[in-house]
């Protein structure tokens, strides 16, 4: 499955980006978890995960199906709160603040931590209204301001040129790839600090996938991005750091280059080289 890592990286990664982590001073930690365990009722899905995610970087979560990647991702914007009977122990810190503390408002938190789901979920509204939804519910009323945000978000998500003439059309009429970029644009419209992406390209063709990868690459200049992917090449191409999960445990986390070429754990190596999973 894996060719050599350098081959994969050569396809895309410009020098500066790959080397930043090793050469420059380490960036500040944005997200941190301490002994995080998660339970769906009696069923434990995460076991004592401790991890630090640096800001303005791309961190890829890899691991076989059902290992808890999505669960972990959803603890970061507290989307798991909605699930009946679920609870967690341990801590999740964003910018050193415990997001599960009693005084934290989830609504405010989710504005800061955007999320893109595996299955694109455009609202049955116009393209414009989809993007404007986040700012609108946050209280923005000014038409000109909304229009500006919509344009900027769509441009950032590399969708503007394709839809600028039909902003009032239903978002459901877009292609799958366009819908996914629409969802990314929608998440960007609330101006988050962190972007969580759960397999954003899993249902897309190679061209759309490439566009989304380019996008992730662009976005990490400003955002802290966490991306779940089943595609090893993709993880190698776009991420600065990778975290490997297995059966609810974090097996290993480190610079992508090291994880893919010289992992510390045997299980990581087996998974990456396609021996299981």
């Amino acid at each position: 499955m894996l060719t050599t890592f350098s081959e994969l990286v050569e396809q895309k990664q410009p020098e500066t980006a790959t080397n930043r982590e090793t050469s420059a001073k380490p960036p500040a930690t944005k997200i941190e978890t301490k002994d995080l365990s998660f339970f769906y009722g009696a069923n434990q899905a995460l076991f004592d995960v401790t991890m630090a995610i640096p800001e303005k970087s791309v961190t890829a979560f890899i691991g076989p199906s059902g290992c808890g990647k999505s669960t972990f991702l959803r603890t970061i914007n507290r989307m798991n709160d909605i699930i009946d009977g679920a609870h967690l122990t341990g801590q999740v810190l964003i910018a050193k603040e415990d997001i599960y503390a009693a005084n934290v408002d989830v609504v405010e938190l989710r504005k800061r931590v955007g999320m893109v789901f595996q299955k694109s979920t455009p609202f049955p509204k116009s393209i414009f209204d989809n993007i404007a939804y986040g700012p609108k519910i946050a209280g923005m009323r000014k038409k000109s301001m909304l229009a500006e945000i919509v344009e900027r978000s769509l441009k950032r998500a590399a969708l503007w040129d394709e839809v600028k003439d039909r902003l009032q059309d239903s978002a459901l009429a877009l292609s799958g790839g366009q819908q996914q970029r629409l969802c990314i644009a929608r998440a960007l419209a609330t101006d988050p600090e962190i972007l969580l992406m759960d397999e954003p390209a899993s249902a897309l063709d190679p061209v759309s996938t490439a566009r989304i990868e380019d996008l992730v690459f662009e976005l990490k200049q400003e955002y802290t991005i966490v991306i779940v992917t089943h595609n090893m090449q993709q993880a190698a191409r776009i991420s600065d750091r990778s975290a490997f999960f297995l059966q609810g445990r974090l097996i290993e986390v480190g610079p992508t280059k090291q994880i893919f070429t010289n992992p510390n754990e045997k299980q990581t190596e087996d998974y990456i080289t396609g021996r299981f999973g």
Binding site: V107, K111, G114, K119, T121
Partner: protein, 336 residues
């Protein structure tokens, strides 16, 4: 040819034959239903022919069949349905929203759920008894005389007549009773419409920092609205044909006035306060009036009744057509 292949060939023909028979059986069932409906309808149309005219639509009931009309019953039913809708939609949709969107799944919600399904099956006469005690008589406990509140606005005074309690045999009692009757159906139908909304839609909204209320207001309700409205209209068209509960609460059958004295839009313009008075007037309703005509000895009243049935059917079909229209109109616009 091997033996399995042979038996396959033998049974194949039998299997096709069975399929053919079944198809015809189903077609027969369908045709039977349609045939009965056609016979019924044509019978009624035949009987009503010549009787359903403007005179019938615009006069009150009478001792003479030729002069009898449906005006009081028609307006009574219209008011009844309007008020029932006004009462049952907010309560029903609110309850469904609470059960589906807010309430945690625990033993209490499970009990409520089971009871809702049971209540939907309770005979309507039981609701009639309930309405009689609760709304018409208010358990004999409450007695407040009607009053008139006068508000002076300087250039004019507005008089708002407040109804006395209990409601007695008024449109309001009838509407409250019918609301109780259809609430379980409205709630269950609304719940089903809400449940059909994929959770991914809610998740997407929450993930953008929407509150629960905003998610319901901007995503869930608009998406569920066609389903909810369909359920509500079907429930209302059941209510409009209900007779037993109205008999029970003692609605009148021989009336020479409409609720609030409103016989058309002109009357409302001439006296807007009639809108406030109407819900607290006595009333009769289409099914009651029809039942009353059918039980009269003069044969000519059978024709009057048939004309009344036609009016009721037209009202029903209009409501059902609205439900279908709403469903189609919205469905073509949304898909998941």
């Amino acid at each position: 040819m091997s033996s399995t292949a042979k038996s396959f060939q033998e049974t194949l023909a039998a299997r096709h034959r069975k399929g053919w028979w079944f198809e015809w059986l189903c077609l027969g069932s369908t045709l039977f239903g349609i045939a009965v409906l056609v016979v019924l309808l044509s019978g009624i149309v035949w009987q009503a022919f010549g009787w359903l005219d403007w005179q019938f639509l615009s006069s009150y009931d009478s001792r003479f069949p030729e002069k009898a009309g449906i005006l009081a019953a028609l307006w009574g039913s219209v008011w009844l349905i309007l008020l029932t809708a006004l009462i049952s939609i907010p309560i029903g949709v609110g309850a469904a929203l609470y059960l589906e969107e807010y309430a945690k799944a625990n033993w209490l919600t499970r009990i409520i759920q089971v009871n809702l399904s049971n209540l939907a099956g309770v005979p309507s006469i039981v609701y009639g008894i309930l309405g009689l005690t609760a709304f018409v008589r208010m358990f004999g406990l409450i007695r407040v005389p009607p009053a008139i509140v006068v508000i002076s606005l300087g250039f004019t005074t507005v008089e708002i007549p407040l109804p006395g309690l209990p409601f007695d045999r008024t449109v309001m009692s009838g509407a409250l009773t019918l609301s109780l009757l259809i609430l379980p159906v409205v709630i269950v139908a609304s719940q089903e419409a809400l449940r059909a909304i994929p959770s991914s839609l809610r998740d997407a909204s929450y993930a953008l920092g929407a509150t629960e209320w905003q998610t319901i207001r901007h995503q869930v309700l608009p998406a569920a609205l066609p389903g909810i409205l369909t359920g509500v209209i079907l429930a209302l068209s059941r209510a409009i044909g209900e007779t037993a509960p109205l008999v029970m609460i003692g609605a009148l059958t021989y009336l020479a006035f409409t609720p609030g004295g409103i016989e058309g839009p002109g009357d409302i313009l001439a006296d807007p306060q009639s809108l406030v008075r109407a819900p607290f007037d006595s009333f009769t309703a289409l099914p009651l009036q029809i039942f009353n005509w059918v039980s009269r000895p003069e044969p000519a009243y059978q024709h009057v009744a048939a004309a009344g049935i036609l009016v009721l059917l037209v009202l029903l079909l209009t409501m059902n057509a609205t439900a279908i229209f709403i469903r189609h109109r919205f469905r073509s616009r949304t898909r998941w």
